[in-house]
């Protein structure tokens, strides 16, 4: 087999793995958008916030320590204990649920029946607010996150491919885990929305508020639930990205990477988010591999957006999105 082709295969595989992580973030967007019609700009920041909270709890960091120290002149930064990853994840989830409740109680509840653009603006505000809170709570330094996920080259794949192609593929174990987790997450989410009482209620609310009320569904409860689920997805995404590239504020920028993914896949489709993520992941890696050297590299920074732009022109509803029909 020609060498170039083998390299390309490795690139594609790596692209798929990266795509899964994009898809994870996009999934959070789709979920909230479907259930509430809100495009949640803060989804990326929520992932960052979740990851920071997780690291903070695991390290026994004192929240708001700078603030406390500044006011009281103290010098506490850590409680002096380490929390096991599993418990820390549960605690973080509890924080995310609390966050969801706050978002609903203090922001969204007051914006019922507002234009989508107002809601969108609100989430932009939320994003900056949350970023500030995260900074204040846990500090702005880059931290590493290790919840015990396997990392590093997968030796089995390396050996197997070496035996076949005479060249070992470099596939990160973490990427494999991310893929599996993403698959499980999607299955769980679909099962939740299709087969549970709460899932049914969630779909009902997304469809028609008035009708949902008339069958006894509390809108508040459902929205808190939706934001909690989005928080859960953000936590998963935060763990994956954080483990991969450290917990830092640039993490919130991955939210922007999710945008082209959504344009490709459609804002309302869960399979769309996955396929879109994979296409962007593979596309940008492959483009960098094939065209990158000709144009001086760093194509990964803009390729996804150009691809999304092209899509917007030819298929504005995305690959799987519902056709946009404006009724006159």
């Amino acid at each position: 087999m020609p060498e170039q082709l083998v390299f390309a295969m490795e690139v594609i595989l790596n692209g798929l793995m990266a795509g899964v992580l994009y898809a994870l973030v996009a999934l959070g967007f789709v979920l909230i958008f479907k259930a509430s019609g809100i495009f949640n700009y803060a989804q990326g920041v929520m992932a960052l916030f979740a990851a920071m909270t997780l690291v903070g709890i695991m390290n026994g960091q004192v929240p708001f320590s700078h603030l406390i120290n500044a006011i009281f002149g103290a010098h506490i930064t850590h409680f002096g204990w380490q929390v096991p990853a599993a418990i820390a994840i549960l605690l973080t989830m509890a924080v995310m649920v609390l966050l969801a409740w706050c978002v609903q109680q203090f922001v969204m509840r007051h914006l019922v029946n507002q234009e989508p653009i107002i809601l969108f603006m609100a989430t932009i505000g939320l994003a900056y607010f949350l970023e500030g809170v995260a900074d204040l709570m846990w500090g702005s330094e880059i931290k590493s996150l290790d919840v015990g996920l396997p990392q590093g080259i997968n030796l089995w794949i390396d050996e197997t491919t070496f035996n076949i192609f005479g060249y070992g593929f470099f596939i990160d174990n973490l990427d494999i885990v991310a893929t599996v987790v993403a698959a499980l997450l999607v299955i769980a989410l679909v099962a939740f929305s299709q087969y549970t009482k709460q899932g049914r209620a969630m779909r009902a609310v997304a469809d028609d508020h008035q009708a949902a009320l008339s069958v006894g569904i509390s809108l508040n409860f459902i929205w808190v639930m939706v934001w909690s689920v989005a928080g859960f997805v953000a936590l998963v995404a935060g763990i994956m990205w954080g483990t991969k590239s450290g917990v830092q504020f640039s993490l919130s920028l991955i939210a922007l990477k999710a945008l082209p993914v959504l344009m490709l896949g459609g804002f309302t489709s869960i399979p769309g988010a996955i396929v879109g993520g994979l296409i962007i992941g593979v596309g940008e890696k492959l483009f960098e591999f094939a065209i990158g050297p000709l144009v001086g590299g760093a194509t990964e920074n803009w390729f996804a957006y150009v691809l999304a732009l092209v899509f917007l022109v030819f298929r504005p509803q995305g690959l799987f999105g519902e056709k946009i029909i404006e009724r006159v």
């Binding site: 549970t196 009902a204 009708a211």
Partner: protein
């Protein structure tokens, strides 16, 4: 007038029971506009009660007060012998008051079956973890709810559209699906907001038959709003007539028909 305490027997021999719902001196204002002015009436168990009046008389507002979508500034709502505190619509629904809407509020993206199943949400008691395992209680519960829904689907003759997305249905069928969803909740009081609006003669006859059959078969107490006088008079046991937010008549269809104020409201000074 009617005896206030024990109920009565209708012309066709149905026994009407005690008071299920009572509105006492309800006044509802939107800003400076008075939509309902000091209205009192009751709804008795097993009866078909109509609220009629010209457009803008405040009928829909009254229905929205009963179903909790509006909270009146003055007056009391009594339901099943207890005074009802101000409630949100979903709490009212959970109390056993189901409703339909004049402009049809269905879950357009779901199938007919899923729509009707949402009417059963309050009958699903298992929690999310039991459901996640999908065993035992949760499964049994789902089966029972499905069976209840199937009876209603059969009753309203919508078997052929069970799996059809609601968005694809014609208007008349959507109205029937909405009724099915309300019935699925096994309501103690069923509110119908202009169930015949926008229908042709044949569809109206079908709908009337279904309303009568529902009352007959399940003994459901029904309160409905309608401005088609003819339909209402055939259908209901007692009628409240509203005009300009005031009650101008209350009684059996015959009594109301002979009421001079009602005749004036409908024939003399119409404000359509």
């Amino acid at each position: 007038m009617l005896d206030a305490s024990d109920g009565y027997v209708t012309e066709d021999g149905r026994k009407i029971g005690g008071v299920v719902m009572e509105m006492r001196n309800i006044t509802l204002r939107f800003g400076g506009v008075v939509a309902i002015k000091d209205i009192s009436f009751d709804i008795r168990e097993g009866e078909i009660r109509a609220i009629i009046g010209p457009n803008g008389a405040g009928k829909s507002s009254m229905l929205n007060v009963i179903s909790g979508f509006y909270v009146p500034q003055e007056g009391e709502v009594w339901f099943r012998g207890a005074k009802r505190p101000p409630m949100r619509p979903y709490e009212v629904a959970r109390q056993g008051i189901a409703r339909t809407f004049q402009n049809i509020a269905l879950f357009e993206g779901m199938s007919v079956l899923d729509n009707v199943m949402t009417g059963r949400l309050n009958f699903m008691k298992t929690n999310i973890f039991q459901q996640a395992l999908w065993k035992g209680r949760a499964e049994k519960e789902e089966t029972l709810n499905r069976a209840a829904v199937e009876r209603i689907i059969d009753f309203l003759e919508i078997q052929h559209i069970r799996k059809t997305p609601v968005a694809r249905l014609p208007y008349g069928l959507k109205k029937r699906v909405e009724l099915a969803r309300a019935l699925a909740a096994e309501p103690k009081l069923l509110l119908l907001d202009e169930p015949m609006a926008g229908m042709n003669v044949e569809e109206k006859e079908d709908m009337s038959r279904f309303i009568l059959d529902v009352n007959d078969e399940f003994g459901t107490t029904i309160a409905l709003i309608e401005h088609d006088m003819g339909v209402v008079m055939d259908l209901s046991d007692r009628v409240v007539v509203m005009d300009y937010g005031k009650k101008i008549g209350d009684g059996t269809p015959d009594e109301v028909r002979g009421n001079q104020e009602v005749i004036d409201a409908y024939l003399g000074v119409s404000h359509d």
